[in-house]
């Protein structure tokens, strides 16, 4: 039985309730606001830091062994197909597979670029990424392992991160876009499962004050489609025989099947295509519908030369990630 002795106790109870309420609200806000904000430099400062020499010195970002030890059962998968149409113009007809893009500033190619990250003692890292149409005009989709090492014990790669669309031989034809916010699929952060290896970034304005999709356009994005698609795989491979200085394209490469390893880790089965890209091409966009719509990103491959490239299936988890990134102001 509670005996109210006076105003002091009432005030104490009220204060405790207020504290609990404040804590609950803060917790709810914290869990809703996924993603990580970055103390990134302004575009001018990023441009000064990311000199051509530093950009050339950047090594492909890969996931570590520790990145995926704690996989657990996570529901993943399909739902209603959904598309966001592109802002970018269609790329023209292109030649054979596995070729260098002669002019990455051309419509349809300028949306693809390189993500650079300062890894401190470990040097500089790099990946590929794609500018996607979004309400804030600043979303880049890449591979999750380019921004977070995976699993509950993973860490973010976020120091001086910047996106350079249409990068070519140290040039930045559309300027440099410092990264302001990063996030991955929740399942990648929880389990490190390869089947959820998709990340998103929100970038700031470039040196001339333009937002990303104002400068280069933005592709559409689609999810929950059937895997049997024909993909144009873009990326900046940086390991021999490539040098990471040019955009590469495997045009019109068809869905081959799933990796058997994909069956044993959580999430929708990944996609395989014939495209011999290597380190640095991670996060590169897999475009469908004539290069208009993003539907996967490069994830991994095996060491033998004939290995296909594998990319994550875009399901409802990617839709949620895209929604979170597009809502960032």
């Amino acid at each position: 039985m509670i005996v109210w002795a006076g105003g002091a106790q009432r005030a104490l109870v009220l204060a405790a309730a207020l504290f609990v309420l404040t804590f609950l609200l803060a917790y709810a806000a914290g869990t809703a606001a996924a993603g990580v904000w970055m103390k990134g430099p302004a575009a001018g400062e990023a441009a000064r830091f990311w000199t051509p020499a530093r950009m050339r010195a950047a090594k492909p970002l890969e996931v570590g062994e520790e990145g995926g030890r704690a996989a657990r059962i996570v529901e993943g998968g399909h739902g209603e197909p959904r598309r966001i149409p592109p802002l970018a113009a269609r790329p023209g007809e292109f030649g054979d597979d596995f070729v260098e893009v002669p002019d990455p500033t051309a419509p349809g190619f300028a949306v693809h670029g390189v993500l650079f990250v300062d890894l401190g003692f470990f040097g500089y890292g790099r990946c590929s990424g794609t500018a996607v149409r979004s309400p804030n005009r600043s979303v880049v989709i890449t591979a999750a392992h380019c921004i977070h090492s995976g699993s509950r014990f993973g860490r973010w790669y976020r120091s001086r991160a910047a996106f350079v669309p249409a990068y070519r031989f140290g040039q930045r034809p559309f300027g440099i876009f410092p990264v302001r916010w990063v996030d991955t699929t929740k399942e990648w952060r929880d389990s490190g499962s390869e089947n959820f290896d998709v990340g998103a970034m929100v970038v700031g304005r470039n040196e001339s004050g333009k937002a990303l999709t104002e400068a280069v356009g933005g592709t559409g994005i689609a999810w929950n489609l059937k895997p049997q698609q024909t993909f144009d795989v873009h990326g900046y491979p940086a390991e021999p025989p490539f040098d990471g200085e040019t955009q590469r394209l495997c045009a019109g490469t068809r869905f081959l099947g799933h990796d058997p390893n994909s069956f044993i880790v959580p999430g929708p089965l990944n996609l395989a295509v014939t495209c011999q890209l290597n380190g640095g091409a991670s996060g590169g966009g897999w475009m469908i519908e004539g290069g208009e719509t993003l539907n996967s990103v490069t994830d991994y491959g095996y060491f033998d030369e004939a290995s296909p490239a594998y990319g994550s299936y875009f399901g409802k988890e990617v839709a949620r990630l895209y929604g979170r990134a597009g809502a960032v102001r």
């Binding site: 062994e65 996989a71 990326g235 099947g257 880790v265 999430g267 395989a272 004939a306």
Partner: protein, 317 residues
């Protein structure tokens, strides 16, 4: 792009992993085999060239059973991570062939449910019975706790060409979980001599891989005297099913590689048949030819040589 281990990883995990195969479930979940000798070729096969291996599910639990069959094959069903696999095998620790059908479905400790394409389906539930029976074994510093019981439901399977078939409604099985830490003081896992042998370099090793799309075949040979081992692994993926075939011989065979690593001959023991010959030419090209083949369950006379194979050889300096 991350570079990962080739197909050897999953297949060897299924074959060698301390808590992986249906046999492991049947035999209290103990490791089947001692580890392979250290070899650069094997390292290349098992690990990525850059940054470690792929994601593996936590061995939080394994659940499954072995079904009684009339033919020469045994059939087991078990969980592995998010997947559920049906394994058909014959042979033992020294010599074994197996075909594993891996599918997504319900892979829970108490419930196994999946469709293996045209080969069949499983839908079984675990019942622990009136008397609760649990066994514990200390393996590598952790208790493996097995809860015994019966799976009840329906298993229907018919392999390619009917090489094995089974239809049951009830099978003894168990749920294997990793328990608390434990210490075994009375027994040492390996004697000093055995440890020295474990870390000894092999006399010769070979890894040969052929890939077509997502399907691939690998042949691994390690010549290390009594600890010699030969594996053939074939993986193929269908829209909702992966099929992994494995042949293994852990006894001495013939592996001859010359010092300049320009030619070699491989003649593994049964279940392999025939021999393969490697030749490297001054222009950098090489050939891997011969009559070497193996009878996988459901895929007899499977060729293990041909122009599509990419071969790596290893001999000590």
């Amino acid at each position: 792009m991350k570079r990962q281990l080739p197909l050897l990883g999953l297949a060897l995990a299924l074959a060698l992993g301390p808590a992986s195969s249906a046999i492991a479930i049947a035999s209290q979940g103990l490791p089947l085999l001692p580890p392979l000798p250290k070899s650069a070729v094997l390292e290349r096969g098992l690990h990525s060239t850059q940054h470690g291996g792929p994601v593996r599910p936590d061995p939080l639990f394994r659940s499954g059973f072995v079904a009684a069959t009339k033919g020469p094959y045994e059939v087991g069903v078990s969980t592995y991570g998010s997947g559920l696999y049906l394994e058909v095998w014959r042979g033992g620790k020294k010599q074994r062939t197996a075909t594993t059908y891996l599918a997504r479905g319900v892979a829970q400790p108490q419930r196994l449910q999946a469709t293996f394409g045209k080969f069949g389906r499983v839908s079984m539930r675990f019942h622990r019975g009136r008397i609760r029976r649990v066994t514990k074994h200390c393996v590598f510093g952790r208790f493996l706790v097995k809860q015994h019981g019966v799976f009840v439901g329906n298993l229907r399977f018919r392999g390619e060409g009917g090489y094995a078939s089974v239809q049951i409604h009830r099978a003894k099985g168990g749920i294997l979980r990793v328990g608390k830490r434990c210490h075994v003081r009375r027994h040492r896992l390996f004697s000093p001599e055995e440890l020295e042998e474990l870390f000894a370099k092999p006399d010769a090793a070979m890894l040969s891989i052929a890939r077509e799309g997502v399907d691939s075949t690998a042949l691994l040979a390690i010549d290390a005297g009594k600890r010699s081992a030969f594996y053939a692994i074939d993986e193929e993926t269908r829209p909702k099913l992966a099929i992994i075939r494995l042949a293994m011989a852990r006894k001495p065979g013939r592996v001859q590689i010359n010092e300049s690593i320009t030619s070699g001959t491989l003649a593994p023991p049964a279940p392999f048949h025939g021999s393969g010959r490697y030749r490297a030419f001054p222009d950098g090209s090489s050939t891997w030819s011969g009559s070497l083949s193996v009878n996988f369950p459901g895929a007899p006379h499977f060729p293990l040589t041909g122009p599509s194979f990419e071969t790596l050889l290893e001999v000590p300096f």
